[in-house]
């Protein structure tokens, strides 16, 4: 097998170590149908270890930065054209997300009520930020 460098696509760097597959799932990238290179638990000066995701042929507008911010808030996205990084994007934490994650609280109404769209809002308290369920205020788990 030959792993060549990326020609046209995106590099998602600084993904929390061990979570690359989960990040792909949230980004709705199907690894069975996409040309992907995953580097997991690589050394990172900033975070100790990290994952890196390289996707060949993926257009930058297909990456949902809101969703990426949700699951990998420190990640960066490099846009690669003709083998060079031409642009870097940083996800911002969205104020609200819906239809991406499910509430982990078994007592939440969303666990039984049909036709309810899951939603989470960003809460900032004393400098730390977290997402809480719109319905029961349970903290989101990723």
């Amino acid at each position: 097998m030959e792993v060549t460098s990326l020609q046209n696509g995106i590099i998602i760097d600084h993904v929390p170590a061990g979570t690359a597959l989960k990040v792909l799932e949230y980004l709705k990238v199907d690894p069975s149908r996409t040309k992907i290179a995953l580097i997991m638990n690589a050394d990172s000066k900033r975070y100790g270890t990290k994952d890196i995701i390289k996707i060949e042929g993926m257009a930058d507008d297909r990456i949902d930065l809101d969703v990426l911010g949700l699951v990998a808030r420190n990640a960066t996205v490099g846009i690669v054209r003709d083998g060079s990084i031409v642009k870097k994007l940083t996800p911002t934490l969205p104020q609200h997300v819906s239809g991406v994650i499910r509430c982990p609280n078994p007592r939440c109404v969303t666990s039984t009520e049909r036709d309810v769209r899951q939603g989470f809002h960003l809460v900032t308290l004393n400098g730390h930020q977290e997402y809480r369920c719109d319905y029961c205020d349970e903290e989101a788990k990723f």
């Binding site: 609280n105 007592r107 939440c108 109404v109 969303t110 666990s111 039984t112 009520e113 049909r114 036709d115 309810v116 308290l125 004393n126 369920c133 719109d134 319905y135 029961c136 205020d137 349970e138 903290e139």
Partner: protein
């Protein structure tokens, strides 16, 4: 000529019409002050407001058992001149056939002018309020699992207001189950919005106040807190002592429940150490955390709290329906809202 205070009350009142109350965050502190003033006004002469909601219908959709809360909502509407429909217990409803909360509420919102709902699932009241908004019918959360119970907090605030003439500049002790007790969390968060409260959080380590509630206190510029284990050590400095029941249904393990149930019991011996005007509150029902010997003590405010709850529900129901209390806009209570 309409006075300035009456004008301000009228503006606040207009903002409440048609609004649902799922959490107390749905109300501003000015709205809460208005409701406190209205409850006080109603209390002074109940007959004066007896026809405020003539022709109105309240639906109480109570999917789980409740004595106090349902009767309080219903009595509030009856005392305002309206009528009541509803159910108590999901077994007699279409929920047993698999009907969603949303569908049930959409159906009922065709019959009723206002809905009060209690449901074991957290967030059920938000689902209900969204369903009822199609018909412009306000929904009041009467308790959604362990999540929110805003009218209980309104009752608590009204009791404190009645005892001290204020809900700020107080030392408020909360004792017992501070981890699962939703009334405790809601009271702390709401008092933090008004400010200038020192909280004394009295609980065993297993039932300590959750981090997100502590965060709310720390985020307040004028409130602070201390966490202690022993009620006896701190009771002497409290203005308010809010006792809670250690609820069996919040435990997965019965041994843990039995071990912690009797940890904090308020009795006459402890009351001797308290200030002469301390108010003892409890959301009820109590099990054994307050000795029956304390009931006759004038500082016991927990049965008064039940009455205050009804008065606040009267204030809330009439306000959300847009039915003005006769004479309120010219009253001293209205003036106090704007001071």
């Amino acid at each position: 000529m309409t006075s300035q205070s009456a004008q301000k009350c009228a503006v606040l009142e207009s903002q409440l019409v048609g609004r649902s109350v799922v959490t107390l965050d749905d109300l501003s502190t000015d709205h809460i002050r208005l409701l406190l003033a209205k409850a006080q006004y109603i209390d002074e002469d109940m007959k004066r407001v007896a026809h405020t909601c003539d022709g109105r219908i309240l639906a109480t959709l109570f999917y789980e058992p409740s004595t106090r809360t349902r009767l309080s909502f219903e009595t509030a509407m009856l005392r305002l001149g309206g009528r009541v429909i509803g159910f108590a217990g999901a077994q007699s409803t279409s929920a047993t056939k698999g009907e969603t909360i949303s569908d049930t509420v959409r159906v009922v919102s065709n019959f009723a002018d206002i809905i009060a709902i209690r449901h074991p699932k957290e967030g059920a009241a938000l689902v209900a309020s969204r369903a009822a908004s199609h018909a412009g019918v306000p929904v009041i959360n009467g308790g959604d699992g362990g999540h929110m119970h805003p009218t209980q907090t309104l009752a608590d605030l009204s009791t404190i207001q009645a005892r001290f003439g204020r809900i700020t500049d107080l030392v408020v002790g909360l004792c017992g189950d501070l981890m699962f007790g939703r009334t405790v969390h809601s009271l702390i968060e709401t008092l933090c919005r008004f400010g200038n409260v020192h909280f004394v959080l009295i609980s065993p380590d297993e039932l300590k106040t959750p981090r997100y509630v502590i965060d709310r206190i720390e985020a307040s510029r004028t409130c602070d807190y201390e966490e202690v284990h022993d009620l006896q050590d701190v009771i002497g400095k409290l203005d308010v002592l809010y006792m809670t029941r250690v609820q069996q249904e919040r435990f997965f393990n019965e041994d843990d429940y039995l071990r912690l149930r009797d940890t904090y019991i308020l009795d006459p011996a402890k009351m001797k150490l308290a200030k002469p005007d301390m108010a003892v509150l409890h959301p009820l029902p109590r099990v054994n955390e307050i000795s029956f010997d304390v009931d006759a003590d004038p500082r016991a405010a927990y049965f008064e709290q039940v009455r205050r709850g009804m008065l606040m529900r009267m204030a809330l129901e009439s306000s959300l329906l847009g039915d003005s209390l006769p004479g309120f806009s010219e009253s001293d209570e209205c003036k106090e809202v704007t001071e």
